[in-house]
């Protein structure tokens, strides 16, 4: 299935213009980042407002290795995953003692504090950041193969692989343990699950995936700098996860597309309405925040799950009405 998806994407990337290819790469990055939130929040029940900071850890790790040791790009991505996972394990160890709002607040403080650290160490390049160059696409792909298509390929492949990994993880014993702990911690403990360890593990894996997303984000903008990982990024990821349906991986593409498409849609709407400057510039923010609230209130489990539930209900009704006729 994932291979088929790859084939579809391959043909797509050949059909559309460069801007859409770039946006496609961004969507793929968001898909990965959002899936890390879904794993953490939707399955293991922990909230993080600091995944932007973990993305920064991955991005900086990849960039520093690329610049200092000129490692092959694939290794840079692997190290990005590992570095962020280590960060996540540390944070997860703290997180296991906290829950709900405490965890949210701690990760919030992290998201604000961590990126500014880059100014304290010369090797991290300060405010202007570090270059992160994955290199030109291989010549074998042809002259017309643009840089952005190359980015898109790498990001899309990484997205397919990480989706595959996450899906398998979630349906494994770990996934069951997370869900058990999320539902009722005491019951899970009675059933012999070490909930604390299970939570730290979820945080570690989620952070690793976020680190990969961070390195890929750095690839698409060619640099790593503190301002690329603002608090707003962490909020966007959570928004994307909620819009996708935070308890299921199935809708992850929805959140990612919405995050990329909304500024453009808002732009069109604002211009159509002929609104003033202050309305135009603030409309995207309003739409995203408004959607977030509406989703939490009315489709808390996300559009995909909602659709599935309605279908199941419909099917059940259908079955029962059939039975009546007989």
């Amino acid at each position: 299935m994932f291979i088929l998806g790859g084939v579809v994407l391959y043909f797509l990337s050949g059909m559309v213009d460069e801007l859409r290819v770039y946006q496609g790469a961004t969507i793929a990055v968001y898909v990965i980042a959002i899936s890390s939130i879904i794993l953490l929040t939707g399955y293991s029940g922990q909230v993080s407002l600091g995944h932007g900071a973990l993305m920064a850890v991955g991005a900086y790790a990849a960039a520093v290795l690329r610049i200092e040791f000129n490692l092959p790009i694939i290794l840079c991505f692997v190290v990005a995953v590992l570095a962020a996972a280590i960060g996540g394990a540390l944070l997860g160890a703290a997180a296991a003692r906290l829950s709900g709002p405490y965890l949210a607040g701690t990760t919030l403080a992290l998201a604000i504090g961590l990126p500014s650290l880059a100014n304290q160490f010369a090797v991290l390049g300060g405010e202007q950041g570090l270059l992160f160059d994955v290199g030109f696409p291989p010549l074998a792909l042809g002259e017309d193969f643009t840089q952005y298509k190359w980015f898109f390929w790498i990001a899309a492949l990484a997205a397919l692989i990480s989706m595959w990994v996450v899906r398998n993880l979630l349906s494994s014993a770990y996934g069951r343990a997370w869900r058990a702990g999320r539902g009722n911690e005491v019951a899970a403990q009675l059933a012999g699950i070490n909930t604390a360890r299970s939570k730290v593990l979820a945080f570690t894996i989620s952070a690793g995936i976020a680190g990969l997303a961070g390195a890929l984000l750095a690839m698409t903008i060619g640099t790593v700098s503190p301002s690329a990982f603002p608090l707003a990024l962490s909020f966007s990821l959570l928004t994307g996860a909620v819009l996708s349906g935070i308890t299921t991986l199935g809708g992850v593409i929805i959140g990612a597309v919405v995050l990329v498409a909304i500024p453009e849609i808002a732009d069109v709407v604002a211009h159509r309405l002929g609104s003033s400057e202050s309305v135009t510039t603030n409309l995207p923010g309003l739409i995203v925040s408004g959607l977030l609230i509406l989703t939490v209130l009315f489709v808390p489990n996300g559009p995909v799950e909602q659709h599935r539930a309605r279908k199941a209900k419909h099917a059940a009704q259908h079955a029962s009405s059939k039975k009546d006729k007989h």
């Binding site: 998806g5 859409r20 500014s116 300060g126 698409t220 903008i221 060619g222 640099t223 301002s227 929805i254």
Partner: protein, 429 residues
């Protein structure tokens, strides 16, 4: 069942992706991208919202005010200049995305005055205007690196670099405050790192250096800085930060009756901006300031008078400050570059025009620009002034004394530069 769901997932995502990606514009066939028989399209990304937007979000209005004036007076050889502005919220990711839109969707001819070192660097790396041949005119940062022709062949800086400014400040201190204890407030990122490099080149020694994290400058922080400077008993305090840092510092200094000899860097030294935050004008009195362009209150200056008249008509009620003056000056230089690029300007001819004639473009600056085939350095110096009792920066003794230097180890020299007179009606000639 599971396989079925997965298939659905993939189909759904494929459908969504196609819907999302389907709308592709067909490029119009023209002599050059962004240039038609009736208009020339330029694009700008900068923070219009968010913490970093204060002050800078006046720049598009200022540039448009000049372009509108230009268009009403015949435009560039009959072509109207239009400016597409996008908000990047000072985030590199956004800057890259919006610049891609400007180049690939809006199809602008050139990028104008992008803001922020990290943003310009990210755009240079990812969007790569150089490889696409897209001119990046007059980036709005004092980071000296963007003048490197080899690394950024289509990018031109305009502001003098932070290094130049620090070197000139160091020279002024040597001449006027020898033997005094000097304190420095600086931002703990590249902005400050460049300043430190400049002061080092000038041989300035500091009794105390106080860094602040960008975004942390408020009244409480300023009380802390002042406490440090007081403890170090310095005579001169250099404020090499952004406007909000200068304002916070001077505002709190007034409350704490702290009055050393102030020296204000140009980035955070605009009197109009500082006074708008409620800093009493008296605090600024006798402070030393630096600027490449004339004082914004100097209505005897033909450019300042001309620009402020246009701006007052275009954006009524908005104060004419340094950001506005610089924004209009950049638009003015751009107009000359477009005019110099020939009857049917192309990206190539635009770049060539700046390389060959850029150094002679009329503009309000009192120091020369360094454009040539081998250098994309913009303005190369500052004039030194003092703030008046009403808090406005004015030249000492009524005449502008200018210094020029480079971003390397070159000396600081008093300049004899004579500014070209303003072309008739403020239109490019």
């Amino acid at each position: 069942m599971k396989a079925l769901n997965r298939r659905k997932l993939i189909t759904a995502s494929a459908v969504l992706a196609i819907v999302g990606l389907a709308s592709t514009a067909i490029p119009a066939q023209a002599a050059e991208v962004g240039v038609s028989s009736t208009q020339i399209k330029l694009g700008m990304t900068l923070p219009m919202t968010g913490t970093a937007s204060l002050g800078y979000n006046k720049i598009p209005g200022a540039a448009k005010a000049y372009f509108d004036y230009l268009n009403a007076n015949g435009g560039i050889n009959g072509r109207k200049v239009t400016l597409v502005v996008k908000d990047d919220r000072y985030v590199p990711t956004e800057a890259v995305a919006k610049t891609n839109e400007l180049i690939l969707k809006d199809k602008v001819m050139a990028l104008l005055a992008p803001l922020g070192t990290a943003n310009v660097k990210a755009v240079a790396s990812s969007v790569n205007p150089a490889r696409r041949g897209v001119p990046v005119l007059f980036v709005n940062t004092g980071f000296s690196g963007f003048a490197d022709v080899k690394k950024y062949p289509t990018t031109y800086t305009v502001l003098p670099s932070y290094i130049m400014e620090a070197k000139i400040m160091g020279e002024y201190i040597k001449e006027n405050f020898a033997g005094k204890k000097i304190g420095l407030l600086y931002q703990d990122d590249d902005f400050g790192t460049d300043a430190l490099a400049g002061f080092k080149a000038a041989g300035t020694n500091f009794a105390i250096k106080v860094p602040y994290a960008s975004g942390s400058q408020n009244a409480a922080a300023a009380a802390g800085w002042i406490t440090k400077f007081k403890a170090a008993e310095v005579d001169v305090v250099i404020l090499f930060g952004v406007s909000s840092a200068t304002s916070a510092m001077l505002g709190v200094a007034a409350q704490l009756k702290y009055a050393p000899q102030w020296m204000l860097g140009s980035v955070g030294g605009d009197a109009t901006t500082i006074k708008a935050t409620g800093v009493p004008a008296g605090v600024l009195y006798n402070a030393i300031g630096f600027s490449p362009v004339p004082a914004t209150t100097d209505m005897k200056d033909e450019y300042v008078k001309f620009f402020s008249d246009i701006y007052a008509k275009a954006v009524p009620g908005s104060a004419f400050d340094l950001n506005v003056l610089l924004g209009m000056n950049t638009a003015f230089m751009t107009a000359q570059a477009l005019k110099a690029a020939g009857a049917n300007p192309t990206r190539k001819s635009l770049l060539a025009a700046i390389d060959s004639k850029g150094a002679t473009f009329a503009n309000s600056a009192l120091v020369p620009a360094g454009y040539s085939k081998t250098s994309h350095v913009g303005l190369t110096g500052y004039w030194v002034g003092k703030y008046s009792p009403t808090g406005d920066l004015s030249p000492i003794g009524g005449t502008y004394v200018t210094y020029t230097t480079d971003s390397g180890s070159g000396p600081v020299v008093k300049s004899t530069y004579k500014r070209p007179a303003m072309p008739a009606k403020g239109l490019p000639n």
